[in-house]
């Protein structure tokens, strides 16, 4: 969450594009890893 806040402040201040995109990418990966951590069971669904 703090990573997201830092990224948002960088985006608002318009600091270097590379820094914004890198931090945003790291935040996205961290969010997906958290998602992977919290998804612990398969669902009993047939498609």
């Amino acid at each position: 969450m703090i990573l997201l806040l830092v990224t948002a402040i960088l985006a608002y201040r318009g600091i270097r594009a590379r820094a914004i995109i890198s931090l945003w990418g790291v935040s996205l990966v961290a969010t997906l890893l958290l998602f992977n951590y919290h998804v612990t069971s398969s669902l009993n669904l047939n498609f």
Partner: protein, 214 residues
């Protein structure tokens, strides 16, 4: 005004920034409304959390993160536009980032919807708002963002955000940006109270862990 050289045909000429003033202004205010909309969504989630005393589950928090991830690139576009430094590359890149975050958010919402659909006796997590649970609303907002950003990319030749020149009107857009940053700070404080000294939220939170740890 689009300029053409004798060597190029009309069909191949790309409009320059600011070629369509009305479209540019609409694109700018559309993105300000985008940020304001997600501020309302995140504040509503806070309302349910604090007024109805419903604690957000880990998947709910992850969907909030995805909403924030989808909004940050839009904040970048609006801020750069207010400075008069917005380029087409930054504009298209940011819309792409927003789409990627929305797809990630859609996956999380869909997972939570399926989780509660799987059991016929499961009433769903939390209370419903206008007949739908918050994670279903979240999925709808992510789909709207994907469609909006995709349409903006299609129309980028006709409309690229351009901030109004009046400082008073610019202040309105800046206020929305500050509101978003304030909502983000509030979320940081809320997650610290929810998680306490743990790295992750419990699967079914029932209290603010930090208060118990003290």
């Amino acid at each position: 005004m689009t300029t053409t050289s004798p060597a190029t045909s009309d069909a191949s000429v790309e409009p320059t920034l600011g070629s369509y003033p009305i479209g540019n202004r609409l694109a700018f205010w559309g993105l300000v409304v985008f940020i304001a909309g997600y501020c309302v969504v995140l504040l509503s989630a806070f309302g349910i959390q604090f007024i109805s005393h419903e604690f957000p589950c880990p998947l709910c928090m992850l969907q909030r993160y995805a909403m924030i991830l989808a909004t940050i690139p839009i904040v970048w576009i609006v801020a750069e536009s207010l400075r008069g430094r917005l380029t087409r590359v930054t504009y298209l890149r940011s819309l792409g980032m927003s789409i990627v975050a929305s797809v990630a958010g859609s996956i999380m919402s869909t997972r939570q919807i399926l989780l509660h659909i799987a059991s016929k006796t499961d009433p769903g997590y939390g209370s419903a708002v206008l007949g739908l649970h918050l994670y279903t609303w979240a999925l709808i907002t992510f789909q709207i963002v994907i469609v909006y950003c995709g349409a903006s990319m299609m129309l980028n030749g006709q409309a690229i955000p351009e901030a109004p020149s009046s400082p008073k009107v610019q202040l309105l857009a800046r206020a929305v940006l500050w509101l978003f940053l304030a909502v983000l700070v509030a979320n940081v404080i809320a997650i610290i109270f929810l998680e306490g000294f743990s790295w992750v939220l419990p699967d079914n939170p029932t209290s603010y862990h930090l208060l118990h740890q003290f």
